[in-house]
Subunit: 209 residues, 6 copies
């Protein structure tokens, strides 16, 4: 009986599992495609591929926004490839701010793990949905909408954002406008902002044009 | 033989098509769901449900942007419900501008049908991709990224945008910031814009807070 | 100029946004469908719909597994409807265990927020991938595969699980076998378990048949 | 210990499963939507909802094609709603034919269970892929492409088609052309067929116009 | 402050954007997969990749159908790879016809840009939905259903078709039957068409068998 | 006229079909990705790629379960790549059993082709749905849920399972627990099973740890 079972088992394994997998750990050295990266061969996959330890530490927030975003997207965490999930850690000093931004490719679920965060998003109908969140509270931000997070109550704060894609993207409004080579005349034409202000912010953020 | 055929036909029609359809024209009076609106009963669907005549005319562009966007989303064109497609007409007077905006729920394919349009988008990596388009040219804008269209060569222009969703959404940056009740202190905190400028633009666009 | 702008804005709002939304907060009183629940009308949606405060407290773990799972699926958190995301809080006393289980409808991303957790899953090829996780570490569990979490180092632990569906499901192996009315003869035939053991575990977990 | 366990179990069941399900048996009396029909309440779902007994018998094939297609789409088999699967039984008398047809909404996997079937499809590149199939053999037909099945070797044959949608659709070329009210002038313009032949076939199949 | 900001920016760019993109311009030299082609490296992507200028000119329509279809599918326009959109230009001389055809892999949105077009499709229930369209009007054709376009009012006409896939496919009924090597006996068996007519049309369209 | 037509045809074929296909037969020698394997070049695809003859014979069932599962997943049947369909043949001797198992990546439609099969699944709510099936009857098993099949009425039985994925996966509960290197202490902690029983079953099924 033992041999027969092992025979069945071997048969199932050898034929059905030789080439396909339950998961698809990214082979980041290959070109990605619309659905993600090619899979690392199953034989080379280990437990470590499914674990990411890069979000355990508080990031340095001594910068202009008094905050930092540390991503665990597929580029950093190959195990999420094809699974429709990824994450980022948000660290904020007192009154730290994650400026207005969007994730063009994913919805977001925010979990506050320390302090208080005022978070909000603006809908296509120009309605602002915002809330002061405390530790353990969750807030969702629908895909592609402008949103922000601010540490409240003069305390530092930490949160984890989980995205509905392994590759959510991150477009920070100020960086798109003022840290790019988007020309000042085009910015003023398409935003009604003042040229002097645009130039000043480009100076701070490193934009050209 | 004739009777048998008709019998087969009737059988197929009565059993397989009584309750399901090849399409799902939106019943806009019912609540929508994540995949769209419930379907109008097949018996009430006519050719007109698959046709939209609301984009035939040039829109009035005597406004601040010298331009207009006329949507043919599922709310206007119920026939696209569930089909992953919708459209909008863009009319621009000479030097008219469609200000920076995103479609949070869809990719966009732009087709210029009159004049010249300078169009561009900014990626998550803060790279600007822009091009002067002429009649008959196409440009794609990936989902959720900031983009703009400007009539060029001092001539009026027309284009049609086609979206990869029946409900693409439309978030116009200036309206989100300055035509909403997003508070001025929060705007300045999350964008680094000058409070005086924010207040001025709110005055123009009707925002509060 | 002001009037023209407001006119444009009103036009866009009234025509394109009357019936469609960027989100779809669940109307839990209506029947759900394959893609989720019908949407609550936009006019009744408030900031609170996007926030969930039910995972802020440590759950009572004085039970047989010395652990608890508190869900924030669409049934508890209507704001995640249609967004491909939901969450659960895992509380474990010292040596507490979340027994072998699957989420038939979602991939899972686990974030440890307190203590140490030994977590693992078994693939279709019968390979066990397991790892001792500490605070801030992430582990991903592909959809439908058996997995477990155990508090390690004799300390209590907390984690948050985020799922790639608003309705991930939760099939706990022991409950499926021993807390259901799955008949003992069928269990022994389909698992090779001993009838005496099956009856004993049914006694503990409340199963019949 | 027993009480604690049951408490945990009850908690999980009452909170996480009150409103959501692992499946979505169609409530055919409600309007369907793009993703299928609303779900029957879980409390009313029984084992019978997951079983379909309508394909057990050989269909009457005394008709013009000496064949019959009996569907088990969502309209007949509500249990497949939302599951991306449905089926049909194909019965053929000796030399019976399922005429050229497409399934606009699904790929098809054909399983021959009796006799011999010559089956084939034509690609967008106008290449014909055809094969004589025997009992137990499978053939796959990509979505939306014209295909056919013919009983071979002068014997009756049976097959089961499984589709990648609960609502695959079925467009039979001859019925679309000659059993509809597609006008004869339009048919001849769009197919190059001879008007006399069109009228003759309309006479046989019941078309008008 | 400046340095800190640039540091944050650099960090975000280098870690999160090194390997993933907001878009996936097709690398047509690599093998495609079910979701499309592998992506061209981001560093090699330019504005030109998002623009297609191949539909600006009227195609030559001096042929049997007095019409032409010029595709801008992913094979011609690599920028649409993975975006669920593509296009084609339809040119028709007076009374020109795009014969009955299907797109097996996409829904279609037709925009008339010149003249008058009579367009229609046939459903799985053998109902014909047709309409005379004028400039600026839109019509949708659900995936996989037979449809046609004819220039009306004795004038030439132009339209643009937009598809819900980068690779919609195009199966022209007459070409599938009469320009392929589909054997005449099989055609007559599966369509009821007359062998003499089949042979005649094969002669015109170049089919064999 | 003939030349013009052929010209049109050639044009369409050469431009639109040079690089894209209606199907994507797996090139199993290349690495797969989240959506499946890269496509074999169209020029090398033949009718045989769409046909699978590996399920025509009754499998050897002289083993511990008196049954066998023979897969026709993408690894065996490359033609189903990207089509959302695959199959398996189930052979059972009298009283043969396919033990409790899940398909983590697909829904299943079971078709009995010989004998009687008692089949059932257990939901997330721990409800057992089971039914005695006879020849020609269908039963669906929603994705990721534990299910089983047993030959009934002391007769051998055959069934075909069709899956909603080309790569459904197969996790057999007993093999996951007792044919893997899942350690006995972890098994007993996460299942409440008796260590002695675990060791005995590991001995039979070949597990270690």
């Amino acid at each position: 009986m033992f041999l027969h079972t092992v025979f069945l088992l071997s048969f199932l394994l050898s034929t059905s599992h030789a080439t396909v997998q339950d998961f698809c750990v990214a082979d980041l050295k290959s070109a990605d495609g619309p659905a993600g990266f090619p899979c690392k061969p199953a034989a080379k996959v280990t437990s470590d591929d499914f674990v990411f330890a890069g979000l355990t530490e508080t990031a340095n927030v001594t910068n202009i926004i008094n905050g930092a975003v540390t991503p665990a997207f597929v580029g950093q965490f190959p195990g999420v490839n094809g699974l429709g999930l990824s994450a980022a850690r948000i660290d904020l000093g007192p009154a730290g701010v994650i400026p207005l931004h969007t994730h063009p490719g994913a919805n977001e679920l925010l979990l506050v793990t320390q302090g208080y965060i005022l978070a909000g998003f603006i809908s296509s109908s120009n309605v602002v949905y915002q809330k002061l969140l405390k530790k353990g509270e969750l807030m969702v931000f629908p895909q592609g909408l402008l949103h922000f997070q601010i540490a409240a109550h003069k305390r530092k704060a930490t949160a984890f954002a989980i995205f509905s894609s392994a590759n959510p993207g991150l477009q920070i409004l100020d960086f798109a406008l003022f840290a790019s080579d988007f020309s000042t005349p085009l910015i003023t034409q398409t935003t009604f902002l003042d040229p002097a202000l645009v130039k000043k912010l480009k100076g701070v953020l490193g934009g050209s044009g």
